[in-house]
């Protein structure tokens, strides 16, 4: 007869005698690696249905973060979807060490694209070299993102581990840092800066830097602002509230006469703590009393915020909602969709949206970014007080005052000077060449006094045949194209297209031609070191010689003045990463 005592005995025996012994299992990290490999295989097994090019482009338009950059502005590159698929195939093929190059230029006919899976591309894709004769145009849209850097910093400095290669986005790394670009002159809205030098990881190739600077505004001349702070004060925000309070107080200290602040919190319920207040001390008092509470936030907070923004709208001014949240909107799937729809509908009202994510790891980052993109805004991840100050205080004018929207860039390379090019990073950012002048195609926003940096690896037309063949193998000579381009010695033409931050005025466009390969400068030196580090962390197939150690050495040499301390921090990060990679 089985009784309780017997059963207890058996259960205890089971628990103790069949317990795993120390050493039975491999490390958690190796389990994780194995699992994520399986995940990748799983994803490849079930490729998403290939959308038609138009659908895909539409989708990309929706995905692209409308950005409004601070010092870390990024650009987004574009390529025909079919070509991206081709490049993915290429990347799979070129996994063998030493095999560099791409066979990308023979862009397939639109519609014949093989299954294109953003997710998959995210993990394997690297942009290959493109022959200028086959595709002289490279188009990209402005975009901002800093989450990746904050993420990298967390992994390397706090968690003592290297990031998975696919998590490294070169464009985000490069744009995290400030550069010393010349200011636009007169009434110019943007001024490009060019520099080039031998690529540190492949000296036979050139690394071309294109930096764009927008005018640093005279603070007194900035339009009046109305900020609606929408603060998630649900219980999960408890840990980060001191940071939020301090960041907001710092921002409030930057307010000028005429600026107004409203504060809405949502936690247990939606509360308007302040409405259109222009008295800094009152603002600070309210901020000081903020506390995390409640546990059932609803979606109406954001509606209230838009209502206040509309009520106190400053025509021609800077009208902006600043949403501070841990990204867990807790509003349920259906209202989340409604939220996105509403934010999207407000795009043309002239009300901008900044979403600052904070708290627990940034795994809700996508959600935060998506909302910001839909709302003509920008997104940040605040992982520390330092980052909060960076966004709200030092980068305030850039982050909070839009200068131009739907900003697009296009580079036309001269085949007489450049044989092939490759944009570093931006694998996930797509814009086709013809979208450049299509003003229905949205793009990112650029703020006041901001910078944007893009790097191209280029192979000059006079490079050795072996270098050319390694980059773009098996190219048959073209019969009907002439590579002379009327004998021009120009390297390239760089075009910028943008729209005013408000209103429906037609887009403006400016073109700048670059006479020849520009010289190296300190901006280039720093960007080249960052790029090398990024390529090494990514284990790039195009830069097997890139090394963290070399990048750290270069970075140290070209630290410059580094007023923000960002570069010094990066150097620290590089050294730690070098140790971890051993």
């Amino acid at each position: 007869m089985m009784n309780d005592m017997l059963l207890d005995g058996l259960l205890t025996q089971w628990k103790t005698e069949r317990a795993p012994r120390p050493g039975d299992f491999s490390s958690n990290a190796s389990f994780e690696r194995r699992f994520f490999t399986a995940v990748r295989i799983e994803k490849q097994k079930r490729p998403r249905k290939a959308p038609r090019p138009s659908g895909l482009l539409g989708l990309i338009g929706k995905i692209r973060p409308a950005f409004e950059p601070s010092e870390r502005v990024c650009a987004s590159f574009s390529l025909a979807p079919s070509a991206m698929a081709a490049s993915r195939i290429h990347c799979c093929c070129s996994a063998a060490p030493g095999l560099i190059g791409g066979l990308f230029d023979d862009a397939p006919v639109p519609g014949s694209a093989p299954a294109f899976d953003t997710e998959e591309y995210k993990t394997v894709g690297e942009r290959p070299f493109v022959a200028v004769t086959a595709n002289p145009l490279s188009t990209f849209g402005a975009d901002v993102d800093s989450a990746m850097y904050a993420n990298l910093r967390r992994m390397v400095l706090k968690e003592d581990r290297l990031p998975p290669p696919e998590a490294v986005r070169l464009e985000e790394l490069i744009n995290y840092f400030g550069y010393d670009y010349p200011q636009p002159e007169g009434k110019a809205v943007m001024r490009p800066h060019f520099a080039s030098g031998a690529a540190p990881w492949a000296p036979e190739r050139r690394l071309l830097l294109i930096g764009v600077q927008t005018p640093v505004p005279d603070r007194e001349k900035l339009p009046a602002s109305h900020y609606v702070f929408l603060i998630d004060n649900s219980g999960s925000m408890d840990d980060v509230f001191p940071m939020v309070r301090e960041a907001m107080t710092a921002l409030a200290g930057n307010l000028r006469s005429g600026d107004k602040v409203s504060i809405v919190t949502y936690g247990g319920d939606v509360r308007v703590l302040l409405e259109g207040c222009s008295d800094v001390s009152t603002v600070c008092e309210v901020i000081a009393k903020l506390e995390a509470e409640g546990c059932t936030p609803g979606g109406e907070g954001i509606q209230k915020a838009y209502a206040l923004a509309e009520k106190h709208f400053i025509p021609g001014g800077n009208n902006r909602i600043v949403l501070i949240t841990d990204g867990d909107f807790n509003v349920g799937a259906s209202s989340e969709a409604e939220l996105v729809e509403m934010v999207k509908a407000k795009r043309d009202t002239g009300i901008y949206l900044t979403v600052a994510g904070c708290g627990m790891g940034n795994y809700k980052d996508n959600k935060i970014k998506m909302l910001a993109n839909k709302g003509n805004g920008n997104a940040f991840y605040l992982d520390s007080m330092r980052e909060a100050k960076r966004v709200f205080v030092h980068g305030m004018t850039g982050n909070m005052y839009a200068l131009a929207r739907d900003v697009k860039f296009q580079v036309e390379f001269n085949p007489a000077q450049v044989f092939a090019y490759r944009l570093l990073g931006y694998e996930l950012r797509d814009m086709t060449d013809r979208d450049f002048r299509d003003d229905k195609k949205e793009s990112g926003t650029v703020g006041q006094g901001q910078q944007l940096t893009a790097l191209y690896e280029i192979i000059p037309a006079d490079a050795a045949a072996s270098v050319k063949n390694a980059a773009v193998p098996k190219m048959p000579p073209l019969k009907y194209q002439t590579a002379s381009a009327s004998g021009s010695e120009e390297l390239l033409t760089f075009r910028i297209r943008w729209r005013e931050p408000q209103g429906k005025k037609a887009a403006r466009e400016e073109a700048f031609s670059v006479p020849g390969l520009p010289p190296e400068d300190e901006n280039w030196n720093w960007a080249a070191a960052v790029a090398e580090a990024g390529l090494a962390l990514r284990s790039s197939a195009f830069a097997p010689a890139a090394s963290l150690k070399h990048a750290a050495k270069q970075a140290q040499q070209h630290l410059g003045e580094d007023p923000s301390g960002d570069r010094a921090e990066f150097l620290l990060l590089l050294r730690r990463a070098t140790e971890l990679s051993r």
Partner: protein, 165 residues
């Protein structure tokens, strides 16, 4: 790494050792344990969009891990029987207890899902009552009730076996 992968990464980091502790006690070796956990995680990954939150996902993985573990046992047994190699599990030192343990294992595997997972995570794994309850998405009290009910069912099943012998 996208949002979903991040969720799974966190889940791995936070729960792997507990999952291993429970599953190992069912399947008896580390390699099978990891296979089972990976399978459970992959199944969860395939339907990642349908979980309401992290807690929901976690409970689901804990449940599926137990199901997968017992599936593996059944699979093993079927293979063994096909090869007529089974029945050598009893050790010589205490044949009777080993037999009883094997019977208990079988009885647990035949419990309804809710009660089976209550026994595995509530009694066999290295989790306290409150930890186990949190992972199964129920209150501690509910867990104890389930364990109590499960024990009654086990006693009944084992007694019937004794009688049958």
């Amino acid at each position: 790494m996208d949002e979903i992968e991040m969720r799974f990464q966190r889940l791995c980091r936070e729960e792997l050792s507990y999952l291993r502790g429970g599953v190992f006690r069912i399947v008896g070796n580390a390699a099978d344990t990891d296979d089972v956990i990976q399978e459970a995680l992959l199944r969860a990954f395939r339907r990642a969009g349908s979980f309401r939150g992290d807690a929901d996902l976690r409970s689901w993985v804990y449940r599926i891990a137990v199901n997968c573990a017992f599936d593996l046992l059944r699979e093993r047994k079927r293979e063994a029987e096909a090869g007529r190699q089974y029945a050598e599990t009893a050790s010589e030192k205490d044949e009777k207890t080993e037999k009883r343990l094997a019977e208990l294992e079988k009885a647990v595997s035949e419990l309804p899902e809710l009660y089976r997972e209550a026994i595995v995570w509530g009694c066999l794994a290295d989790l306290s009552g409150s930890e186990a309850a949190a992972r199964l998405g129920c209150s501690e009290n509910t867990l104890y009730q389930r364990v109590f009910k499960a024990r009654q069912m086990l006693k009944k099943a084992m007694t019937q076996k004794e009688v049958a012998r």
